[in-house]
């Protein structure tokens, strides 16, 4: 830190110390559970998750998807560049093949796996581990996310207990495709980011024990 | 016999004496020995709310001297009560001032919480009513629940009292607790916005086709009535005191 910076730092800290009010205690945060309409039973959490994500224009697939290839072909017939960030599906490219962060914009569909969903909000968690190339989360056109329904937690308090928030350089709670209400309060999808978000809820697609996870 | 001092807000004294009269008669009907100090003037709110703190001092001190010896001071005004109870800080401290701050009640509070009256057998009012409760009364005096606090039990002290008047019917209207736009000196300093708020409030109320508009604050009604008359609406306006006292349309 140079001397100007040190001066700024010290001036600010001195001013803060001189002005901060008498210390007030940190409250203890209760462990809130899902509201009275839902319990923490898995079936309830899945139902709540589906309801929440639908409000944000996310799409949920609850039936088994035995063949990802035919699934995405049917859903995205025009797609040419299919990026797979999961080991069990090849796609047409892998994230590792992207040479530059901005190249994620050429991806039509990206298949990812999320380690956690949140019933309260319909969010799915992604980090630099799952994405491998962070920009996929918003430069790709469409995302398909595999989520084991057993990994759906109740609420945001539960969600922020996930170790990613203390360990990863980038983690995002993503809830539906990008949107905006900035034009006259009318909600539109998409805005700048992904155009659609489809979550496949299926245990059948859980990672096999020897699937590797690359550290981003 | 319980004794109470009647505080008549300056604008009620001048423009709506019938509200002061109705308040007096109502309290007398309920067996209260009402004293009306002749030296009363104003609670200081117009100056204090304008930020002219210094210029409210003498008025507030005078008010404390006039009313500071009574166990109950009753006024048909939520805004004056709110000012005295929660913002009465321009004048010097004194035992009278402290007593006044503790013992001032809006009329509705006094009837509902102190006298605990719910029936007004001498009153009949077979009309549809749009009830307006002032922001001072709701958020300053907790006289009714507020829409912002969605989990609170819904209640309204003025409505509870008025429900004791035979024949009365309340109409529901949108934005029930949005401010009417009076706001004290705001009514003239931000005249355009104030008037628009008043016009909008009236429009929401009129959509529900009430026979009249009622409130426990004449300041709101003064503003709303001004807006209504300018638009050639002849809807009658009443203070809660008048209806409880047995006024007829």
């Amino acid at each position: 830190m140079n001397s100007t910076q040190a001066l700024s730092r010290n001036t600010i800290l001195d001013s803060v110390r001189a002005n901060q009010p008498a210390k007030l205690p940190m409250p203890s945060i209760p462990h809130f559970h899902m509201n009275q309409h839902h319990t923490n039973q898995p079936a309830d959490l899945v139902a709540a998750f589906c309801e929440s994500i639908a409000r944000m224009a996310g799409v949920v697939v609850t039936e088994d998807v035995p063949d990802l290839d035919s699934f995405q072909c049917a859903k995205f017939p025009e797609a040419k560049v299919i990026c797979s960030a999961i080991p069990e599906y090849a796609g047409t490219i892998k994230p590792a093949s992207l040479n530059h962060w901005s190249e994620a914009s050429k991806i039509d569909v990206c298949i990812l796996r999320s380690p956690m969903g949140v019933a309260e909000t319909g969010s799915i968690l992604l980090s630099d581990i799952e994405l491998q190339v962070n920009t996929i989360a918003f430069l790709a056109h469409d995302l398909v996310v595999l989520l084991d329904p057993k990994q759906i937690v109740g609420n945001i308090h539960d969600a922020y207990e996930h170790p990613y928030f203390k360990l990863r350089s980038y983690s995002v709670l993503m809830t539906g495709p990008s949107g905006s209400g900035d034009i006259s309060g009318i909600t539109v999808h998409p805005a700048q980011g992904v155009k659609t978000l489809t979550v496949i809820l299926s245990s059948a697609l859980s990672p096999t024990p020897n699937a590797s996870r690359r550290m981003g | 016999m319980m004794q109470a001092a009647l505080m008549v807000p300056c604008y009620v004294d001048t423009f709506y004496p019938h509200v002061g009269i109705a308040t007096l008669e109502l309290l007398e009907k309920l067996g209260v020995d009402v004293v009306c100090p002749k030296d009363q003037t104003c609670c200081g709110q117009p100056m204090a709310n304008s930020g002219c703190y210094e210029e409210a001092r003498a008025t507030e001190e005078h008010c404390a001297r006039v009313f500071g010896s009574f166990d109950y001071v009753v006024t048909p005004s939520g805004s004056c009560t709110h000012h005295i109870r929660n913002k009465f800080s321009a004048g010097a401290d004194s035992p009278e001032k402290q007593k006044l701050v503790r013992n001032t009640y809006d009329l509705v509070e006094f009837l509902h919480d102190v006298l605990k009256i719910r029936d007004f057998p001498w009153a009949t009012f077979e009309h549809k009513v749009a009830l307006h409760t002032s922001c001072s009364a709701i958020r300053g005096l907790n006289m009714a629940s507020m829409s912002e606090r969605v989990h609170d039990t819904v209640f309204s002290k003025p409505k509870a009292l008025l429900s004791g008047v035979s024949g009365i019917e309340f109409v529901e209207f949108e934005r029930v607790d949005e401010c009417c736009g009076f706001g004290g000196t705001f009514a003239v300093t931000e005249e355009a916005v104030s008037a628009k708020m008043g016009y909008d409030k009236l429009a929401f109320m009129q959509k529900a086709s009430p026979d009249c508009i009622i409130s426990s604050d004449m300041s709101c009604l003064m503003h709303l009535q001004g807006c209504a008359r300018r638009q050639k609406q002849d809807t009658p306006f009443y203070h809660v005191a008048e209806v409880l006292n047995g006024v007829s349309l």
Binding site: T4, S8, L13, V16, N19, Q20, K23, I29, Q36, D128, N134, T135, F138, N155, I156, H157, A159, F165, R168, S169, V172, L173, T175, S178, G179, G181, I183, S184, H189, P190, A191, Q192, G193, G216 | T14, P17, C36, Q40, C42, P46, S50, G51, C52, Y53, T59, C135, M146, H151, R175, C179, V188, T189, E191, A192, V193, K196, M197, Q225, G226, C227
Partner: protein, 462 residues
Amino acid sequence: MSTPVDQAKNAERFLADTVHEQRLDKLLWAMRMRRDAAARQVPEWEELRTLASEIKEHTLSNLSDYLIQFEAKATANGMIVHWARDAHEVYDLLAGQGSNMLVKSKSMLTEECEWRPFLERRGIRVTETDLGERIQQLDDQPPGHIVGPAIHKTTQDVAILFSKKYGSDPENEDAAYLAGVMRENTRPDILDARAGMTGANFVVAETGAVVVATNEGNADLSANTPPLHICSVGIEKIIPTTESLAVFVRLLTRSATGDRITQYTSTFRGPRKGAAMHVILVDNGRSARLGMKRFWHSLKCIRCAACMNTCPVYRRSGGLSYGSTYMGPIGIIMMPTFEIRKYSELPFASTLNGSCTNVCPVKIDIHEQIYGWREVMEENDQIQVVKKEAMRVADKVLSHPTLYQIATTTVSTALEVLPHFAVYNRLNAWGKHRDVPEATTQTFHEWYRTHRPKTNEEVRRG
């Protein structure tokens, strides 16, 4: 010495445009209703508000410790932490970041510090990626609302603007079409940019992380695509832990728009490989405000704009009427700390109704602070001389029973004298859109003297 912003006059002008005013009022009231509906679904809503308020008060009263903790953690994570006493201290960093174009996401702090004009004067092009900010940037207008900067514009306004700037179809007012136009035109800049600027909603001391919540993902775009990420944040944005973050995330979006969360709620804990991340901790008057006994609670603000949506005055004045970076109720209590004279009229742009205080997710006593600022304006001689004089006359009359009774005896005198405290602004302002109260034959006290003569004894006690 700057002239005070005449918010009342600006509001009057906005009101004259009935199309825009009615639309804004309806739209933002609907937003307030959505907030209510969302709060209803959370039984512990009021408990969350109390927690959020207490967490912020704890943090602000221990701010120096938390700032130091954050700096240590963030540095260990690979971020470079800067400290800026005011807007100017960032100039060198910004000017020297090496690229001639950068993308940015919405940050009220950057508006406050006026960094975009600074950069543009130095030939550095800045592309706003937030749709609302971009609209305002293209129209050369400041934001009108802190969550929806262009919320006061109709789809027609945007269609015409985009046709001028982007050559799109001026007749096509479809919001999805317009969003698409923006997306196409902004994406090349995003892909080419060498630097991105963001703000942050929260800064987590325990983990050295910054948290940004957007609907568009544009902060993620601005932060993750270019190789340089500059995140500037006010020092009051610190919260202690990830556990406390959950409380705020649950309150923020519900208060702002009624949704349960934004589409992208992201945590940045360090630069990605091969990139750099700078965090600028900005004071710009915040530490001084921390020492204001009556006003420091305004630092709890999480920028949700719930106060603006519920404020009946804001909805009828429009955000631009305040002439300030932050507008509406929160603006009224913050702006005078930046420039007391310029914003000396703002505390009077309120009816003190208190709705704002009761929607604020962090329980700032906004309307009480507004009242407090009115007193400060008097103490600092910011109240117009004419008004003060009128108030002095009022106090004299209202503290002397004899003068009061003389003044109120005849109706014509009363009408002249009593609203006299209003004369300082405009003559007959009351009567512009309203009738004055009807004439009465006698005052209450005159009636009382004749109808209750027995009880008309002077009651003097003590």
